[in-house]
Amino acid sequence: MSLTSIDWLIMGVYFVFVLGIGVALKRYMKTSTDFFLAGRSIPAWICGLAFLSANLGAQEVIGMAACGAKYGIATSHFYWIGAVPAMVFVGIFMMPFYYGSKARSVPEYLRMRFDEKTRGLNAISFAVMTIFSSGISMYAMAKLIQVLHVFDVPFQKMELPQGMIFHVSIVLSALIVLGYIFLGGLTSAIYNEVLQFFLIVAGFLPLVYLGLKNVGGWPGLKASLPPAYSHSWQGMTHANTNPLGVEVFGLAMGLGFVLSFGYWCTNYLVVQRAMAADSMSAARRTPLIAAVPKILFPILVILPGLIAVALPTQAPTSLQAANGTVIVQQATGRGIIPAKIDEASGQVKLDSTGKPVLDYDLAIPNMLLHYYPTGLLGLGLTALLASFMSGMAGNVTAFNTVWTYDIYQSYINKHASDEHYLWMGRMATVFGVALSIAAAYAATRFNNIMDFLQLVFAFVNAPLFATFLLGMFWKRTTGHGAFTGLLSGMLAAALHHGVTLPAGADTGIKGGWLGIAHTYPSEMAQNFWTAIWAWSVCFVVTILISVVTKPHKEEEMVGLVYSLTKKPSEKHLPWYQRPAYLGIAVLALALSLNIIFR
């Protein structure tokens, strides 16, 4: 990649603003509530965009484009079946308890509703998870900077060894994220997420325009792809007749219900953004406002993936590094997506059937290189970096809050001054970022350790939504029930993973380590079913244990459980601000898109 001064200038302008926001907000950080919850003073539209943007990390932008290239428009199920109904549910039904209970975090809600052990389990697993997620983002970003040769020329000019690029990328991104969160806390993270949201749209929209124009618009794109690629519901009645390898029930229950609701309704990373809102109705509108751009995001992230495979496949070429050596033998790929190269041997990686393994993660980066002239390329690359940083920053702000309120204040130092907790929040930001760096390096050393951890977190997360659903809507649910249910749900997820395997995979990290009882057509199907099992076991066990244990006192659960809480009145609001109407409009939009692209 050859960048010119205009590209560097654009990138520089962005980073000046990112840090400038932190500096400008520093003087408003007076109490711990200012730092961790943005003083509960943010208007709904800003919270909404931040809610969306905190999730708009690299896994989202790079990953969804990769998915689009691999599976076609069926990837939109992650949006129109997955995210959107869950976002509507959390806004309308769950936010009254999150915001109304004045809990400062999701684990704190669990303590108020259930007991200390349930909170502890959630707080500690969540804190560990945020560190690793942020580390993975950091690692992926440094790797991408290396692969795209972003810093090659400047490093050569400064006579620094090329081997330093990876380390410098990690340290630089860590320092920037640390800088603006340390100064301005959650407000700074939220403001930057909104800035990043607009930048990501500005950086990728021209890509969609140029790509579509090039392939002859949507009709042209459809004509140059297999039919299953442009119809999201084709062949969904059976797992073997569609590219995802999932049938309707697995899709609706696994993705549409357990996984999406588990993520959007219980993950503090996103819920924290709504808790920062300035009023109950703003908190409820936050996920609903976020759902509108979410519905349209497939245009921005899935379409470039589709275009990348629709373009004519290039003859094998070699890319030249700035110092003149040939680095990548672009072997038989698909469209502009190259095959994966084995780092050790320099040969193309082949799967068990002898076909080359394609590196779908390069869909977006290669599209940028394919269509963007210098200038716009700087903007596109900055947008890509911004998406990595918003993923990192979201995790770091969630970590420093859960650490300070749910671990430090609860178990280590109970009665300190507010000033002390504000200081602890800043310190938590520093060691949160430091631990993320350690996690990023762990990923370079043991590639499998990250796969393994992500798997463990999938086990931890899958049953959680059952706990919340029962906790919020069934007053008989008890703390012992919730805790036992959660643990058995995790265990069920691990067991299910241990006895199943996706087709063509080796036993081990992919499953089957206890013997193979069932083979799924794809890894995605296995993931969905693991989640379904975990959720169901947690649901049933929580009910069984709750029934035989002592119920909580009703007066202790006012504001925490649906049947004991006064419904928030929205009568004073104009119709377009009422959560129920907004929710219906958002669902109708998602439904119509499902019908149009069926």
């Binding site: 205009i6 200038l9 654009i10 302008v13 962005y14 603003f17 400038g20 926001i21 400008a24 907000l25 003087r27 408003y28 200012d34 943005a38 003083g39 003073s41 943010i42 800003i46 407000t187 403001y191 909104v194 800035l195 607009f198 500005a202 021209p206 140029l210 124009k213 090039n214 394919h370 269509y371 963007y372 002239p373 210098t374 200038g375 716009l376 903007l379």
Partner: protein, 82 residues
Amino acid sequence: MGMDIRLPIGLMFSVLGVLLTVFGAFSRREIYRVSLGINMNLAWGLVLLAFGVVMLLFVYAANKSERLHETKAASEVARSKE
């Protein structure tokens, strides 16, 4: 919270818009071979600039109405004293 977020958004997009527009106006034609012959720097730079300016206008309007409120409140206080 203290700062209107539309201010940094407006400022940043105006600056980026001006940078891309000016660069697009003076750049050689050959670099646009990749973007199907379209001078995307100029076109997109103008769009970003327009977006930035609209955001800044919002900030200006919000400040103005706030000042109007303040003077109104102040004059009401003065009147009630009389």
